[in-house]
């Protein structure tokens, strides 16, 4: 497949992922509403919100880094998505995966948040740095169990390539070949870390609307906000694709990919629907407790 066609396919994939992320967010809002006994907004409400903020005009500017913050976040999401194969074996849906892409993916997961932190801090609003401080400390703590889980996968599979990890699971065959069952400790560590990544309760202190109005994005509106909304949706989808590839044996068809990513995403939503919010130090303690222990066990187990 020539490079031009490959780029075109990847662009299409990114657009579909953004739309899918927005629909998922609409479903999440509807689900939350139904759980609370409300009717809830229509499923396409995120599209209306996105359209509205695009049509807004901003007059706030706090310097170059302020502009770059949401762009970094968006690029982080797109970058993460582009190095992951959605369906292994179908060139159009493999994006730009290559040997060692897992390392780059881990890097991209941090990239967006760091850019956002730099940009939001330049906004000068006191609530932004508080949100950033909470966000980064929470991120550092859930990266530990997630990193351990990835190390376990790499050491057992002997490869840094997501594609090879997927192929290995598919060769083992069946549902029991998935890393979810082959490496339950690594899966436990990673899926608990995912709770923190998706920032639904109990780990939504980062953007606590009551004490620190939405945290880092406090000063952002209009186009910046539209960038952040689309960046967040593609980031969410990229993360679920990554989890699907690493633990649920990838996907062999498009409906399967949709189903698996949707289930992975809703796991965090359902946990979030029934839990109140942790304080920052509580969430750090949580991630450094059982999830990290599971990660350590996952790394050490193959040695015995």
């Amino acid at each position: 497949m020539s490079l031009a066609i490959k780029i075109a396919w990847s662009l299409l994939n990114v657009l579909v992922a953004i739309a899918y992320g927005l629909v998922t967010y609409g479903v999440v809002r509807k689900t939350m509403a139904r759980i609370q006994g409300r009717i809830g907004p229509p499923i396409y409400q995120p599209f209306i919100d996105l359209g509205k903020v695009i049509f807004l005009r901003t007059a706030t500017s706090h310097g170059v880094m302020f502009f770059l913050g949401p762009i970094f976040r968006f690029v982080g999401g797109v970058g993460l998505f582009l190095v992951l194969p959605v369906i292994v074996g179908v060139p159009a849906l493999e994006n730009f995966s290559f040997n060692g892409d897992l390392l780059l993916a881990m890097y991209f997961m941090f990239f967006g948040s760091l850019g956002m932190a730099l940009g939001a801090a330049e906004g000068g609003h006191p609530h932004s740095p508080i949100g950033i401080g909470r966000g980064l400390s929470q991120m550092t703590s859930f990266e530990l169990p997630f990193g351990l889980a990835v190390v376990a996968l790499i050491s057992v599979g002997g490869s840094f390539s997501v594609t090879e990890i997927v192929q290995r699971q598919q060769e083992l065959g069946g549902v029991l070949g998935w890393n979810l069952f082959q490496q339950p400790f690594a899966a436990a560590a990673a899926f608990l870390a995912l709770l923190g990544m998706n920032m639904y309760p109990p780990f939504n202190i980062v953007g606590a609307p009551q004490e620190i109005p939405v945290g880092p994005p406090t000063e952002y509106n209009a186009v910046f906000q539209s960038l952040m909304m689309s960046g967040r949706s593609i980031f969410a989808i990229a993360k679920t694709v990554m989890f699907m590839d690493l633990f649920l044996g990838g996907a062999t068809s498009i409906p399967e990919a949709f189903l698996k990513t949707f289930c992975i995403y809703m796991w965090t939503v359902f946990v979030g629907a029934v839990f109140p919010r942790f304080r920052t130090e509580q969430s750090i303690r949580f991630f450094l407790g059982w999830p990290t222990l599971a990660g350590v066990v996952a790394v050490l187990l193959p040695l015995f």
């Binding site: 409300r38 809830g40 007059a59 406090t218």
Partner: protein, 214 residues
């Protein structure tokens, strides 16, 4: 009303004596219309208005007893989210400012700042008789009496206090007005900023706000 600019037909003129912004952006930045070549087309405007009407973000800020009636709107009984109405905690991301009842002169200062920081187009809803004529605080030394003098109000909701159903009715009316392009309060505020400022300064004795809160 006749000399007001028509939003449906392009960007209004910038009045003389506008406050220049540090970034070279003057008050026209707040008139809400992105200067795109299609904006003269009514069709585009209609689409924009439809988006705006169906995604009202209200700044979560309560001034008087009326704000008690705002809370039930989020609950299962009234559920304003089904109309796309959501609470935002920061003025930068809000479009609707609800003055929920009596407004003390102290709060008026904050409300002015909040209102000016919101991106255009933005709308003000006056909730309760206190915002219309002072209500039962008509002779108080500490509250403003007629909200229209200090901020451009788009919708008033009468009552003391109005029930949540009345609030939803007010939102519905606001949505209808936005869809029809009838809300021009935010343009009026820019055009007659001097007049509003004069009124504001008359009752805020310790005036220490900037020329315009960007």
């Amino acid at each position: 009303m006749s000399n007001k600019p028509d939003l449906l037909h392009g960007v209004p003129e910038i009045p003389a004596g506008s406050v220049p912004h540090a970034n070279g952006c003057d008050q026209s930045c707040f008139l809400g219309e992105r200067p795109d070549p299609l904006s003269y087309k009514e069709a585009i405007q209609t689409v924009k208005n439809w988006f705006r009407a169906n995604s009202l973000w209200v700044i979560a800020y309560g001034t008087g007893c009326g704000s008690i009636e705002l809370r039930p709107l989020g609950t299962a009984r009234f559920d304003m989210e089904r109309f796309g109405i959501a609470m935002r905690p920061t003025p930068r991301q809000s479009n609707v400012l609800i003055i929920s009842g009596y407004l003390s002169i102290k709060s008026l200062k904050r409300v002015i700042r909040v209102y000016e920081q919101m991106p255009s187009p933005k709308w003000v809803v006056g909730l309760g008789s206190c915002t219309i004529n002072g209500g039962m605080y008509w002779d108080s030394y500490a509250t403003m009496k007629v909200l229209d003098l200090y901020l451009p109000v788009d919708v008033y909701i009468a009552g003391c206090m109005p029930r949540p159903e009345a609030l939803i009715g007010g939102f519905k009316e606001l949505m209808r007005m936005i869809k029809n392009g009838e809300t021009k309060g935010y343009i009026d505020y820019i055009e007659r900023l001097d007049w509003y400022r004069e009124n504001q300064k008359q009752i805020i004795k310790d005036w220490d706000l900037p020329d315009y809160s960007w």
